[in-house]
Every structure is written in C-alpha cells, then in structure tokens.
C-alpha cells in the first residue's frame, strides 16, 4: 500500500473512533442541541437552580425552563417566553442570550433571593437585563419563582394621528445636465469639544438641522497632525440621532481610540446631510429625568410614547453639560422593550464616574424605530 492509501485508511479509522466516542460520551452542549437533558445542572443548591434556568433560557429550551419554575401555574409558557423576549417586536425579539451572571442576595435554609443578569446579544450590542428572583426549596430540589412582569394593557381606543410626512422626488435619469436638483438639508455644528480620555481622543458636540425638511445626518472628524496632514478619520456611527426633523438638535460623539490630543494641531469636522422621507410621529415624551450622582452615576427617566403608533426600538441619547453649558459627555442606551402608546418605559444611561461631578445639566433625545418606518 502506498503512503496515500495508508493516510486515507488512518483518517477513516480515526473518524469512526471519534464518532463512537462522541455517541457514547457526548459533550453536554451537543447533547442539549440534540434534545438531550444533560446540559442543565441539577438544582441541589439555589445557585444551581438559577444557573440551570439560565442555561435553559440560553438554549431557548422554553419548555424545560418553564417546567422548572415553582410558580408556573400563574402564567403560561408563551407568557413566560414573551416576558423574556417581549410581547411586541423589540430589540430582544431576534436576540440570543450571550451569557448570564448570578448573584446571591440573601439565603436561608429553604429560601433564597438571587439576582440574574441576562446579557442578550442584540444587533446593537449586548443588552443586560437584571431580574431579582426568589428561590425556594422543594424537597431536595430548589425551584425558581419567576417574577413575570405584568404586560401593560393599552385599552382599546382610537387615537387620531395627523401624520405629517415628507417624501422626496429626485431628478430622473432622462433629465438634462443642469436640471435643478433638490437641495440637501442645511445642517450646522453648533458645538464641538475635543477631550482627552484614557481610551483616546473623544470629540463631542451638537448638530442642528436648520432647514425646513428632515435630514439624515452623520458627522465625521479628521485629526490633523503638526504639518496639517490627516492622522485619522472617524465618524459618529451610532452615537448620534441620524434622523433630524426641522430645527431639531442631536448630540454626537466620535471616538479616536489610542490617539492623543498632544499630537493634534487641528480637527476637520465634516457634517453630512441628505434628504430622507420621514414622518414626524411618534412623539416621545421623556419624563422624570434624573441625574443620579456617583457612585453608579446615571441618567434615569421614563419614555412615554404620546402617539398611537408602537415604537419598536428606542435609542436614548443623553447630552451632559458642565456649569458653563459646554458639552462634557454624550452617552446612549437602547431600550429593549417596545414603546406602547401612553405606557412609561424606564431607561438608565451610565455616566463615567470621573465626569459625574462636573455635570450640572443634561438634555435627552430619543430616536425611535417602528416596523415599516425609519429611524
């Protein structure tokens, strides 16, 4: 037998051996995906019970997770699933559970309070959701009492909405050269402020749509070296509200990781705007905004959808000012539940500890996405 034939025979034998090993002693995760039960831990301790529940949620084994609950008689399995992933389309609808943390709060011989933080992997990054849960001992096993959040019910009603909407017609392909085009919206940077942070250079500011039409906007910045040559260019990406209605202002934040202001002699700002079809609805009221001091400095509040249309995803952006009114930080947070009409939804935006003491005021803006609409 030549060398090639020998290698082929060896590979075939090795494959057969590995298949046999995998069948007799399967990996837990493989078994779980194959419908087996051995992935989940036993529930001999409160931590084990919560971990087992977290693993079931991660594997989207809703039936297994639901059946392990102590209070499952209080709600149905679909209600449990919707409690985790949302009743209406939202950021969590298409998310998967990346990982989870379990933290004990209190425990006794047959009762325990735990906190589970679920880190959902969404299209805009990780979305952590924390739940305080009660665990009780039932025989030699511990069971989780799941705190199902009551879904607010919007009473049946008719909400009149006078839709204000802009549409754009561009020149056609057959039009002559020199044919008048529709003017791009006029936008202006009304504030800009570079700062040096530990992670690099950060440029923040505010952009105003001074036109009478809606604008899709973004801002890019170029750092210039000592000889005025470009060092680096970055854009605001999602640290901005991209849709600006007439006379609306958005903050923006641009990061230059691992750059130092010491080597920068100038900054070239380039605002970009283009016409976009848009609707003036929904109107979102931001209620009860609070600046919470350090430690755990944050901006908290509630979003209230004042329109009849459901806003599926809300992007909350906070602009923070010092006493002189200068922008000192811009932070954002996506809300992971849909905004139903007249139904408050809380939000919390983290503020860096070192900046918390310099902040004296803030302004919050919200960009929303509705199914079939635009940001």
């Amino acid at each position: 037998m030549n060398k090639g034939g020998l290698l082929a025979a060896f590979l075939m034998a090795a494959t057969i051996v590995l298949v046999i090993v995998g069948t007799i002693w399967p990996a837990p995760s493989a078994l779980a995906y194959a419908g087996g039960q051995h992935l989940f831990q036993s529930s001999a301790t409160p931590e084990d019970a919560v971990n087992s529940l977290g693993q079931a949620i991660q594997a989207k084994a809703w039936e297994k997770a639901y059946s392990s609950l102590a209070n499952k008689a209080q709600f149905t399995e679909p209600q449990f699933e919707h409690d985790l992933t949302g009743y209406y389309s939202s950021l969590l609808t298409y998310a998967t559970l990346d990982h989870f943390d379990v933290r004990p709060l209190h425990s006794s011989a047959d009762n325990a309070d735990m906190q589970i933080t679920l880190y959902w992997s969404t299209v805009v990054g990780l979305a952590p959701v924390s739940r305080d849960i009660h665990v009780t001992k039932n025989g030699d096993q511990w069971q989780v009492t799941w705190p199902v959040a009551k879904q607010p019910v919007v009473p049946p009603q008719v909400i009149p909405v006078n839709y204000l909407r802009w549409d754009v017609i561009y020149p056609g392909a057959g039009d002559d050269w020199g044919t008048q085009d529709v003017e791009a919206p006029h936008v202006r940077i009304v504030d800009m402020h570079p700062v040096q942070r530990a992670e690099g250079v950060v440029i923040m500011g505010e952009l105003l749509n001074e036109d009478v039409v809606p604008a899709y906007v973004s801002v890019s910045a170029t750092l210039l070296g000592k000889n005025q040559s470009p060092i680096a260019t970055e854009s605001s990406f999602d640290k901005i509200s991209h849709l600006l209605l007439p006379k609306q202002v958005t903050p923006f934040l641009i990061r230059f990781p691992d750059r130092s202001l010491a080597g920068v002699s100038g900054i070239r700002m380039t605002p970009f705007s283009t016409l976009i079809s848009a609707s003036a609805d929904p109107v979102i009221e931001i209620d009860n905004e609070h600046l919470n001091p350090a430690p755990d400095a944050s901006l908290t509040g509630q979003l209230i959808n004042q329109s009849g249309q459901i806003a599926n995803v809300a992007h909350v952006i906070g602009t923070f000012y010092d006493k002189s009114g200068q922008v000192v930080w811009v932070a954002d947070r996506y809300v992971d539940t849909a905004l139903l009409p007249q139904t408050p939804v809380p939000f919390s935006i983290h503020i860096p500890e070192d900046l918390a003491r310099t902040i004296s005021s803030q302004r919050t803006t919200v960009a929303t996405y509705s199914e079939g609409g635009a940001l």
Binding site: G178, D181, P214, E285, R363, T364
Partner: protein
C-alpha cells in the same frame, strides 16, 4: 545677423511653391457657421479623395479634381478647427476651415442654486447661464442674458449680464416672502426657468401658554412666525422642557397646523420653557393654589 536673414529668405523661397500649390489644389472657406452649407473648390484633374478631419468628426468624399464639392447644411456642426486634405495617388494637399458656433442661441444651460433657502438672504441665490447654439456649441460671442426672479406676489428682481466666453453669472437676494419663486434666464427669445423655494427662517420668538388639564399641564405655542411674518412650516420641532425639584421632563414636538402642543405632568413650582433650534421662548412658572 546677415546669415540669419539669408537663411530666412531661402526658407521662404523654398516654401512658397508648396503654399501656392496648396491654394491651387483646394479652395476652402476660412470659416463657416456650425451647420451651414458650404463648398470646397478643387483644381487639377484626375481622381482624388477629400478628407475633412475635425472635433469628433471625419468626412471622406471621392472626388474628381477640378470640381466644386458641396456639403449640405448640418454636415459640419461641431465648432472647432478642421483640416481639409485632398489626397491623390502621388501627392496630398491641405487646407483649413474654422467652424464657428452659430450666432443664434438655441439652448441655455441654467444652473440655479440653491433650490431652497431662507427668506431675506442677500445674494443668496446664484444663477449661471451657458449659451449654446442649435448644435450644442458654446456661443462665445458676447450676448445679453436677462435674469429675472419673481415671487408669487409679483415682486420681480431683474439683472442683465453680458456673457463672457459663453457664460454669465449673477446673484440675487431672496425675498421677504416665502413661496416658490420663478427664476428665469433669457437670451433673445430663449428662456430657461428654475424654481427656487424660499422658506421661512428661524422663529422670531416663541410664545407659550399653559393651562391645567387634570393631573397634567397642557402647553401650547402661539402660531410660530419668522421675523418677516412668514408662518414657520409644520414639522418644525419645538422642544418643551419642564424642570422641577431636580428632575426634568422634555418632549420634542413637531408643529402641526402652525402650533405645537403637549401635555406634561403638573408639578407645583415647575419651570416650563420652549425652544426651537437656537431660538428660546418664554418661561412659565407653574403654581397650583
């Protein structure tokens, strides 16, 4: 010096027979207008091929020498410098023709910018006109262009500008009244029209009123107008802010039918304000008795 003079004279004496030979073989017009009919006279006898080579165009005709070759109107329509070559079996003769743009303008390329601007801007509207003949040749001869900007109420601005190298430029003020203005450029009886939208500027001020509505305060602005009295268009965002006991409530509300209105929680001692873009409105302190 003397040697140079002798060299120059000798060169002219050698070249003269060739020049004369060319003139004798082809007699072409020095210049024609684009699209005009013309004829080229040839001399001598025998068969030859006539070539006319110019910008984007090459013509070839088989001719009998000694005849006049006629070209129909529209044969040469691109303005520029053309080379005429008469090629026989043994020799070739050349001549030149300049095709000039026709004097009659037929088309205007009118660039008007911007298509939308706030009212009351000095030199805010610019217009550039390029004058072309029927064959899209740029007419470089000076021509008078009349620019006219008229608003819906009939107020008209007129500027007359001479073209320079085929182009004329102007700048106009936007008027005080919003609306779709007609911006025209005219050369002779050729007219090109553009529409320039003049839109209201920033609100001149924001006046807001507040009244109780159950557990809430209803805030409403008066109809917003710019400093020229034009109504600020619907969709313009007015930001309402309520500040109370270290907390704040805000809402970005679009104007609808000229006004913006919103309901906010009623807090005793709350400070209420409104703003649109960089324009601030009045403040109201909310007191419940």
């Amino acid at each position: 010096m003397r040697r140079r003079f002798v060299f120059l004279v000798a060169t002219l004496l050698i070249a003269a027979p060739c020049i004369i030979a060319q003139d004798e073989a082809i007699q072409a017009p020095k210049s024609i207008a684009a699209g005009d009919a013309f004829a080229i006279q040839t001399t001598g006898s025998g068969k030859a091929a006539l070539y006319i080579v110019g910008p984007n165009q090459v013509l070839k005709r088989d001719v009998d020498r000694g005849q006049s070759i006629s070209f129909a109107p529209g044969t040469l329509h691109n303005a520029g410098h053309y080379l005429v070559i008469l090629k026989t079996d043994s020799s070739s003769y050349t001549s030149e023709v300049d095709v000039l743009p026709a004097n009659a303008p037929s088309e205007l390329s009118f660039l008007a910018r911007p298509s939308r601007l706030p009212v009351g801007l000095h030199d805010g509207i610019t217009g550039a006109v390029y004058v072309f003949d029927a064959y899209k040749n740029l007419i470089t001869a000076p021509a008078s262009v009349s620019f006219e900007l008229s608003n819906p109420s009939g107020v008209t601005q007129t500027h007359v500008v001479q073209t320079h190298n085929g182009a004329a430029l102007t700048a106009m003020d936007s008027t005080q009244q919003q609306g779709a203005d007609k911006f025209t450029a005219r050369v002779g009886d050729v007219i090109s029209t553009r529409i320039v939208g003049q839109v209201p500027g920033d609100p001149c001020g924001i006046k807001m009123s507040a009244k109780p509505s159950g557990q809430q305060i209803e805030l409403e602005t008066e109809p917003l107008r710019d400093c020229s009295g034009n109504a600020v268009p619907d969709g313009t965002i007015v930001t309402f802010t309520e500040t109370y006991a270290g907390a704040q409530t805000t809402a970005d509300v679009p104007l609808k039918r000229g006004i913006a209105q919103v309901a906010m929680p009623a807090h005793n001692g709350a400070m209420l304000s409104a703003a649109s873009g960089v324009v601030l409105g009045n403040q109201i302190r909310w007191e419940t008795h």
